[in-house]
């Protein structure tokens, strides 16, 4: 039992470290593609964290609203089952993360086609320059 708790804590620690490193990458890396990768890592780590909170040692009793007749069966259910709700959340969150990743990748590709760079600092300087010079459009 002690080993299990230790392992779970190590697992939690590694997820949190993962999130911190990914946030660092998201904020400090100037490359747009690396930013997108870091964002994916953050999203997936949060998903894993969510699954972790549904595990029965962390969140002991799953929401059971109708106890079946058979008492031994229901006791078995309460002891062995995990919270199914968080898994549904995670499925939804993964799908949304996929949509975001696709959208951002298309944007990065299009930006690269137009300007030849995905470096944030260069892009921002181009943007400022265009705002001063260019008139037209819409």
């Amino acid at each position: 039992m002690n080993q299990q708790v230790l392992l779970l804590n190590l697992f939690l620690l590694s997820i949190i470290t993962n999130i911190i490193i990914a946030v660092y990458g998201f904020i400090w890396r100037p490359n747009l593609v690396k930013k997108i990768i870091a964002l994916t890592i953050i999203n997936d780590s949060v998903c894993v964290l969510l699954v972790y909170t549904g595990y029965r040692t962390v969140n002991p009793v799953p929401p059971v609203h109708k106890i079946p007749y058979n008492i031994s069966y229901s006791r078995e259910l309460l002891v062995r089952s995990v919270d199914p709700l968080v898994q549904a959340f995670v499925l939804t969150a993964i799908v949304i993360g996929l949509a975001f990743t696709i959208f951002l990748s298309v944007m990065a590709l299009r930006i690269y086609e137009l300007s030849g760079t995905v470096n944030i600092h260069k892009l921002l300087s181009i943007e400022v320059f265009e705002r001063e010079v260019e008139v037209v459009e819409e």
């Binding site: 964002l39 999203n43 949060v46 969140n59 009793v61 930006i111 921002l124």
Partner: protein
């Protein structure tokens, strides 16, 4: 009885109809290229939604009822329910009104863009997402709807995909949006592990609010309450909300995003989409924070909110008078007005909330009108620079007068409704003895007036140092004229009939700060459906 059933079906269908027709448009595009057909689909979808929302709002306001629809008849904390009360119907009435006017304008605007059907699709998805967020009573559903709104908003911003600037603006908005919504997911997780439920009314009861009035309701708690987690969740939710509404530290995506979008999309994003954050924060602030568990922390959070909104008012007013891009001027004015709305919210009294809701209504009407009329100038003279547009207003007197009226409305000049919301805000601060904040309302208005007047002044006067050339007069097409006339009429009508609407505004404010009825309606549904 039939009426109630029809109402329930109506609120369940309202967010669904735009989503269905947004799927229909690209499919139809495979078979036909007749633009009239797509116009009809867009207009009919938005108008059907408008009729449904107005029908619901008639019942909610005049018969004082709350309409609850639970999907598949699952009882509240487990199933997902749509709950329509005064607050959500107020916000969605503003939404559909602005949407129907902007979609009339879009008929004109889409003549100039080749892939208009894509624009229509994204507009309808956006409408469905916001309506779903206003109706739902489930926190995870709110998260999903924020993502739907977000993705469609980023697509609207990057609509001109040959312009590097709009791509950069959209990418910045999308990167931040993805990050902040992940934080919202984290907040949902914290609430789920410490309270074991995600239904907003249930959360409120689990946090110890309303037990004296309602008694025990919903299911027993299976988890242990952890105050630290709940506080963490509240902070994360408020931080996400500040991003959605562009209040001071999270405002920096807004000017570029709202100015690079096509003009109708700017009107919608600037007028209505920022209201998503306002809605979420009113809902959660007064439903979750009135609980005994979190009483001490609330004070600090609310004060922080107040300081941030004051900073964003002055920041918006300052940047408005510096900026040269006409659309960016209006975008900074959005930051300013949302600052006012949040200032009223964080006061915590019903008067403050009703004043800030009225101010949000004024902001969305005025900002939509301003963006739509400036969009015609930009479309015709091919520029957004204030110095290039100098003197063009003199040739188009009608259009300039529409723009001027909307800007005066945003400043708050009496015959329009814009005056009354600032008056109400001022009165609310005076009533709760916050004289410094009342001064902020006046000073912010004075500082922003320069920015608005500067825009008009540049449009009206011919350039001093340039060559004086006569520009071609713009032919105003019927959709543009109709949409701008409707918006201007709304401004004056509401302003002149303020005596009659003030009662409804006050009741909305009182209702929003006192969530007992909201919880009670869900409880009665629970007792009805629970086996």
């Amino acid at each position: 009885m039939v009426c109630i059933v029809f109402l329930k079906v109506a609120i369940a269908l309202t967010p669904l109809i735009p989503i269905v027709s947004s799927i229909l448009i690209p499919l139809l595009r495979l078979f036909t290229r007749r633009k009239v057909l797509f116009n009809i689909i867009l207009l009919s979808t938005v108008f059907i939604d408008t009729i449904l929302v107005f029908y619901t709002s008639y019942h909610v306001y005049f018969q004082d009822s709350i309409i609850v629809y639970c999907f598949s008849n699952w009882f509240p904390p487990i199933g997902i329910c749509y709950v329509v009360d005064k607050l959500s119907i107020f916000m969605s009435t503003i939404l559909v009104t602005i949407y129907s006017i902007v979609s009339i304008y879009t008929i004109w605007y889409s003549r100039h863009i080749p892939n208009y059907y894509f624009f229509y699709t994204v507009l309808l998805i956006h409408l469905g997402g916001i309506l779903g967020l206003f109706y739902t009573s489930d926190l995870f559903n709110i998260y999903v709807m924020i993502e739907v709104i977000g993705l469609s908003a980023y697509s609207l911003v990057s609509f001109y995909h040959n312009k590097l600037r709009s791509l950069i603006a959209s990418t910045r908005y999308a990167l931040l949006g993805a990050f902040y919504t992940t934080l919202f997911l984290l907040a949902v997780m914290f609430i789920h592990i410490s309270l074991g439920t995600l239904n907003i009314a249930d959360l409120s009861i689990k946090l110890g609010f309303g037990e004296n009035y309602i008694g025990s309701c919903f299911l027993e708690n299976t988890t242990t309450l952890n105050n630290g987690y709940v506080l963490m969740a509240l902070v994360l939710i408020i931080w996400t909300t500040l991003f959605l509404s562009a209040v001071f530290p999270n405002h920096f995506w807004l000017p570029s995003a709202h100015s690079e979008a096509p003009s109708p999309a700017s009107a919608l994003l600037s007028g209505v989409t920022v209201g998503v954050g306002v809605y979420v924060i009113i809902r959660l602030l007064y439903l979750l924070m009135h609980s005994s568990v979190l009483d001490i922390i609330v004070e600090g959070l609310v004060n922080t909110l107040m300081i941030l909104s004051v900073i964003s008012i002055f920041y918006g007013a300052l940047m408005m008078s510096v900026e040269d891009d006409v659309k960016r001027i209006l975008a900074y004015s959005t930051i300013l007005n949302i600052g006012y709305v949040f200032m009223g919210l964080s006061l915590g009294t019903p008067y403050g909330v009703s004043a800030s809701l009225l101010h949000f209504l004024n902001h969305s009407i005025g900002k939509a009108s301003a963006f739509l009329s400036i969009g015609v100038f930009i479309r015709n003279y091919r520029s957004r620079n204030i110095h290039v547009l100098e003197g063009v207003g003199r040739e188009n007197v009608l259009l300039t007068s529409f723009l001027t009226i909307s800007l005066l409305h945003l400043i708050g000049i009496p015959p329009t409704i814009g005056f009354y919301s600032k008056l109400l805000l001022f009165q609310a601060f005076i009533n709760s003895r916050a004289y410094g904040l009342a001064l902020v309302v006046v000073l912010g208005t004075a500082a922003s007036a320069y920015g608005y007047v500067r825009l008009i002044e540049h449009l009206w006067h011919p350039p001093i140092h340039g060559v004086l050339y006569r520009v071609e007069k713009i032919h105003l097409s019927t959709p543009v004229l109709v949409s701008l006339l409707i918006l201007t009429t709304i401004m004056f009508t509401l302003g002149l009939s303020y005596q009659w609407i003030s009662h409804y505004m006050e009741s909305t404010g009182f209702y929003a700060t006192d969530p007992i009825m909201y919880i009670d309606s869900l409880c009665s549904v629970f007792r009805e459906l629970h086996p």
